[in-house]
Structure formats: C-alpha cells, structure tokens
C-alpha cells in the first residue's frame, strides 16, 4: 500500500469556513455570543477555553447540527445546517474512539468511506490513502480493540479523512495518550495541514496547542475573547517580561501568603507554587530569592522561563487580561 497525496487543493485566500456573529442560547441561557471565526486551507486553529465556554456548541454549529439563533455559518460557501451537501467537505474526529472495535482499521475506514459517499470504484485507494496519511497501514488488518491508544487515535482520524474533507474538526485528539502517541498524532495533523486541509481542534493540552496551531482562539462564556498566532499573542500579552515561578518547600500561613503577595507573586493551582512576571527575568529572580530567604520563606527552587500559552490561558480565563 503506497501513500498517495490527497487531491491537490488550491491554496485559496478564501476561507473554507466562516462563522459570522454566531449567537445561540439553550433555554434562554446564552452559549454563543457573537462568535466570528474564519479558517483557511492549510491552517491549524486551536479552539481553547474552559469547560462550558461554548466549544462543543460551536463545533455543532460548524457541523450543521445546530442552526444558530443569530449570525451565519458558511462551509465551502454553503450553510451546513440547510444544505446537507455542504457537510460533504467536513470530517469530524470525536473525542471518543468512534469506531467499531471488532472491525479492523481498514474495515472501519471503508465503512465510513461508504457512508461518506466515496464512490465504490475509488474505495480501495481512498482507504489506502487515509491509512497512509495517518500512518496506520501496518495495522490495517488488526481489529481496533487490539490497537494501542496511539494507533486508535490515528485510526479515529483515518475514518474522518477518507473522503478528503476540506475541513477537519478534531475534538481533544490526544486526550489520554502518552507523549509518543501524542507526537505521532501531531505529525498526522501537520501532514494534513500541509496537504491544504483546514484543521480546527479543541484541546486542553496548551503545550500541544502552542506547538501545533497556526492560530489559537480563546472562548470564554460564549465569546471569542482572544485570537491570533500563539507567539504573537504571548508577546503582545507579556512583552519582554519573563515568568518567575517560586516553588516553596511547604504551604505557608496567612502571613507568609501576604508576604508573597507583597512581592507581586500570585498563587497558582498548586499551593506551593507562586508566580509573577518581571522584565528583569533572572536578575529579578535573584533579588526575590534573597528577600524571601530574609523573610523566612526560603524557596526550594526558583524557575525563570518565557511565558507560555498556558499562562496566557490562565490570565484570560481569570479575566486578568483585557480582550
């Protein structure tokens, strides 16, 4: 079985999918509040946001499963909720392994190819291509239930790309897999991007989003509050400042917490880790270390690093950063 490239898609300037002012509510509770989004061919877009931010609803809107109360959605120029044929250009990779476990990878992919209207004559080549692109050819005839987690994730993607969609939506594509498997999935996603597929993925793995996505968007309470290239967003939010992380040996009492706060440190999710941003980086960290030791709060370790997407995400989620 040899890998053949997907049919060449012209790298058009026009977006494959556009969402304009999408508004939606469930039972009077707003879930989407005027979301604007556009994806172009050959682009990876990571949709970030805490649980309940509206990511699932937005995906359902993109898939045409929900017609938004207001605004417009166009997939390849057509409304996917009104024109079923528009959904032919869409592939969805659910968070779960949406495959039949007793069937082999090839049988699964072939089944979903038939269901996605791939012509019968082209079935074998379409299946072979999807397996090659997801690097699952060597497991083509293994039942899905016998695959490792990484192979299952890639087989899950194979079933979604067998009909050569122009937009691929991945919902948490690497949840629950180890580092090697995640890197393999990332490589598959990059490969699809290079073939001109527009990829929209949701993830809670902010390292993955930072490394993989061309653009990220932060969804908060139904609003797309921040959008752009990861490096640019980080630079814009933090400038030249570095993140200083203070790791304490043990939790401190209220007085100690007041002292840390007076140094401009903020608590993180872990009680013994406090953080602050400082343009002086390492020099500031040295001075901070000395002052904390004098105050009887000797740090176990102080780390200095460039701010990450995770840091930005925390600021956005906690409303500490203006949109």
């Amino acid at each position: 079985m040899t890998a053949e490239p997907l049919s060449p898609e012209p790298i058009a300037a026009l977006p494959i999918v556009t969402v304009s002012g999408a508004v939606h509510a469930y039972g009077g509770q707003p879930v989407l509040r005027g979301v604007d989004l556009a994806l172009r061919p050959g682009e990876i877009y990571a949709l970030l946001g805490p649980n309940g931010a509206g990511k699932t609803t937005l995906i359902r809107v993109l898939c045409g499963r929900i017609r938004p109360d207001g605004g417009a959605v166009l997939l390849n120029g057509r409304d996917p909720a009104r024109v079923p044929a528009a959904r032919a250009g869409l592939g969805l990779v659910p968070q779960e392994i949406a495959l039949y476990p007793n069937l082999t990878v090839a049988e699964n992919v072939e089944t979903f190819a038939v269901l996605a209207d791939v012509p019968r004559a082209g079935l074998p080549s379409a299946v072979a291509r999807a397996l090659a692109l997801t690097r699952t050819t060597d497991r083509a005839h293994v039942p899905v239930k016998h695959l490792s987690g990484g192979y299952r994730r890639r087989a899950n993607i194979a079933a979604a790309i067998v009909h050569e969609p122009s937009l691929l939506i991945l919902d948490e594509p690497t949840v629950g897999v180890d580092l090697d498997a995640r890197e393999a999935v990332d490589a598959v996603i990059r490969g699809l991007r290079d073939l001109g597929v527009a990829v929209l993925m949701t993830t809670h793995d902010l390292d993955q989003a930072g490394a993989l996505a061309d653009r990220v968007g932060f969804l908060r309470e139904g609003e797309l509050v921040l959008e752009g290239r990861p490096r640019a967003l980080i630079a814009e939010a933090f400038g030249e400042r570095m993140e200083i992380q203070v790791h304490l040996a043990e939790e401190v009492d209220a007085a100690g917490q007041d002292r840390l706060a007076a140094e401009g440190l903020e608590p993180t999710g872990r009680a013994t880790v406090w953080t602050r941003l400082d343009a002086d980086g390492y020099a500031a960290a040295g001075r901070l270390d000395q002052r904390l030791r004098e105050a009887g709060l000797a740090p176990r370790e102080i780390r200095v690093r460039e701010p990450s997407l995770a840091h930005l995400f925390t600021l956005v989620a906690d409303r500490k950063l203006a949109a």
Binding site: R65, G91, P94, I97, E107, L115, D117, A160
Partner: protein, 399 residues
C-alpha cells in the same frame, strides 16, 4: 443506489461484529434451538395427555373392592400410585410434596356415602380434579361391576325398588363385568384425535413458534442496543456531521436483525422437524412470510424501544422488562389456552400471540393463507411502526 450501499455497509458492520464475537454468535444461533428443546420437553410433558400424576393411596376401608381399586391404581399407567398406610400418612406426603395428590378409600367403593377422599395441596390445585378424573377412569375400567352396583344402589329409591328378576339380571351383569373388566369401560366418552398423524406435535409446533418470537425479540434487542454504543462512542456524532446521518445505521440494523431472526427461526424449526417431526419444510411457502413478518416485527419493535431511551442502562432495563412481559402475556412461557380469558385477549396486543397462532395454524392445522394473512399484516405493521419511530428519533439526534 448510494443509500443501498450505505445500508449494506451497516449490515456488514453488524455481521462482522457478530462473527468476531464468537460468544455472542454461539448464543445467538445455538441457544434458540437449545431452549426450544428444553421448552418443548417440559411443556409436551405437562400439557399433553401423558401426565402421570403421583398419587398417594391409603385403603382404610379394607373391603374386597377397595383392595381391587388400590391394586388397579397401582397397575394403571395413568397414575404413579404409592401405597400409604393411613389417611394421615397420605396427608403428610401431599404436604411434603412427595405426592401430587392423595386418595383415601374410606368406605367400600360401591357404598352410597362418599367413599373416596381426595387430598391436594392448594399450590397444586389442578392436581385434585386430575386425580379425581384418574380415579374415576380406573374405577370405570377396572371395576365396572362396582360402578354398576353403585348406580343401582343410587337409583333404587328413586324408582321405587327393583323386582327380584331385575336384581338377578343386574347381579349377572355385574359378575360378567367383573370377569371381563374391559368389556365395558362404563364411561360416557370416547376419544378421537382430530389429526391422527400428528399426535403430540401440537405442543411442539406451539413452542417452536413461541421460542422463535421470544428469541427474535431478545436478539433484536441486543442488536438494537448497538444504537446506544454508536451514540456513546461518537460514531453517531461522526455520521451526523457528515451527509449520511443515522438513517443508514437504523435501516442497516433493521435488515440485519430481520435476517438474524430468520436464521434463528430456521434453526429452531429445523430442530423441531428433525427431533419431533414438525412439518415445517412442507409448509415453507407460508412459513417463510410468517417468519419474515415476525422477525421484522421483533427488529422494528426493538429499534423503536431502544431509540426511545437516552442511555444504555435505560435501554437494557426496558428491553428486559418488555421481553419478559410480552413473552409471559403472549404465550411464550405458558400456553395461551391455559390463561384466563381476559389474559388471552390481552395477549393479542403482543407480537408473540400473533406469531405463535400463525405458526400453529400453518404447521398444526394445515391452514391456508386466509388464516395467517392477518397475522402477517399485524406483525409487519408493528415492525414498520417501530422502524419509523427509530428513524424519527435518530433524526432528532442532530439537534
């Protein structure tokens, strides 16, 4: 045409899924004939005419004729008589379940007073009349002279007495009967089997149909539960995001389950024919549409019921409840003719009753299409209603 391929693709998924789960495969196709054999053995013995009641007998009268009756009962193939020394011993055996019923011969059988006492446990109420009938049968066959003398004793006061000659003639007749008990069974009845060639097969044909519809529904429920797996594993999300939707999944499952039910029926009736001589092959022309209609009904009802549920747990509970209730009311567990009339009427609301009666009509009564077309229509309509419901609810999943 593309829709046909999509439905065929889903049928293939179901077939491969079953084929690779060898445990499920065996249970799907081996259990139905096995359960049929068990059911038919159990019920052929309890509803046929060869029931052998276990009867505890105590002769406390100790007359020559009471001794003759006890001995005749011991010889009779109709009962399994066991001698007990006293009436209390009989009561103890019945109470302990060691005997189905008891008989105490407390006076000479020819005496006018009630000479027999039947003892039965209320939990086996049917045993009392059955024991009574068996004793009367043995009395008439083995002791006709006693029956005659008893009759004369009862008639004499009403007729104002008999002449000496009449009494002499009666004694002669009684003596003749005693010498040759089979000369006259003294009964009112003669038996005629309506179908000489099929003695004992009626119950078998009944249970072949009963087990077929029971398993068709049971297996269809298991297959339809796959709809829940498709929802929970994201397969439904994947399909609803594309052009296919869930329509081909529902239709593919329906057709597969109809085929599965038909194969199960084939195995059950082949067993019935091979083991008990039920003439299924000879009635294939009517058997096949009946089987297809029953299988379609089971498939449609199962898909409809599972589609109504939101979770697999709900669907499993509902399917277990529905399978048991329909089987009980519809006659898959106990023959319908043993049920009270109102329950027999309610039974017509179940596919089981229609399927069982249709098979009975074809295989036992050699009925033509006129006797079964109504069952075909009812079963098919129920199946299609379930299928439509499943399609409608699958469409609503898009939201």
């Amino acid at each position: 045409m593309r829709s046909v391929w999509k439905i065929a693709a889903m049928m293939r998924v179901m077939a491969l899924d079953l084929w690779r789960d060898r445990g499920a495969l065996l249970m799907t196709f081996l259990l139905p004939p096995l359960v049929f054999l068990i059911f038919s053995s159990v019920f052929a013995g309890t509803t046929g005419d060869d029931i052998q009641l276990k009867l505890a007998v105590a002769d406390t009268a100790h007359t020559p004729d009471s001794g003759r009756l006890a001995a005749a009962l011991a010889r009779s193939p109709e009962v399994r008589a066991e001698t007990a020394p006293t009436a209390d011993a009989v009561r103890r055996r019945v109470k302990a379940g060691q005997a189905d019923a008891g008989l105490v011969i407390r006076a000479d059988p020819a005496s006018a007073d009630k000479p027999f006492l039947i003892i039965a446990d209320p939990s086996r109420a049917v045993a009392a009349p059955l024991a009574q009938a068996r004793v009367q049968q043995v009395l008439a066959n083995a002791l006709p002279d006693v029956t005659l003398r008893r009759t004369i004793t009862q008639l004499e006061p009403a007729l104002g007495g008999f002449t000496d000659e009449q009494v002499e003639n009666a004694d002669s007749a009684a003596a003749l009967m005693r010498q040759d008990p089979t000369h006259d069974d003294g009964g009112f009845f003669e038996r005629e089997a309506v179908k000489d060639a099929k003695v004992g097969g009626g119950v078998i044909a009944y249970y072949a149909g009963a087990v077929m519809i029971l398993f068709a529904l049971f297996s269809a429920m298991q297959g339809a539960l796959g709809l829940m797996d498709e929802r929970s594993t994201g397969v439904a999300d994947r399909l609803l995001a594309g052009t296919a939707g869930m329509g081909p999944v529902v239709s593919g499952k329906f057709l597969f389950l109809v085929g599965q039910g038909t194969v199960q029926a084939l195995l059950i009736f082949a067993t019935a024919q091979g083991v008990y001589g039920v003439a299924a092959a000879q009635h294939a022309v009517l058997w096949l549409p009946t089987t297809l209609a029953a299988s379609a009904c089971a498939a449609g009802v199962a898909l409809g019921l599972v589609s109504v549920c939101r979770t697999r747990e709900q669907a499993q509970m509902l399917s277990t409840f529905v399978i048991l209730v329909l089987a009980a009311v519809g006659g898959s567990m106990v023959p319908r003719f043993l049920m009270p009339p109102w329950l027999q009427s309610v039974g017509w609301l179940t596919p089981h009753a229609w399927a069982i009666e249709a098979y009975q009509a074809i295989l036992w009564r050699d009925a033509g299409i006129g006797a079964v077309y109504k069952a075909w229509c009812v079963l098919t309509a129920a199946g299609l209603a379930g299928l439509v419901l499943a399609h409608v609810l699958a469409r609503r999943l898009r939201r």
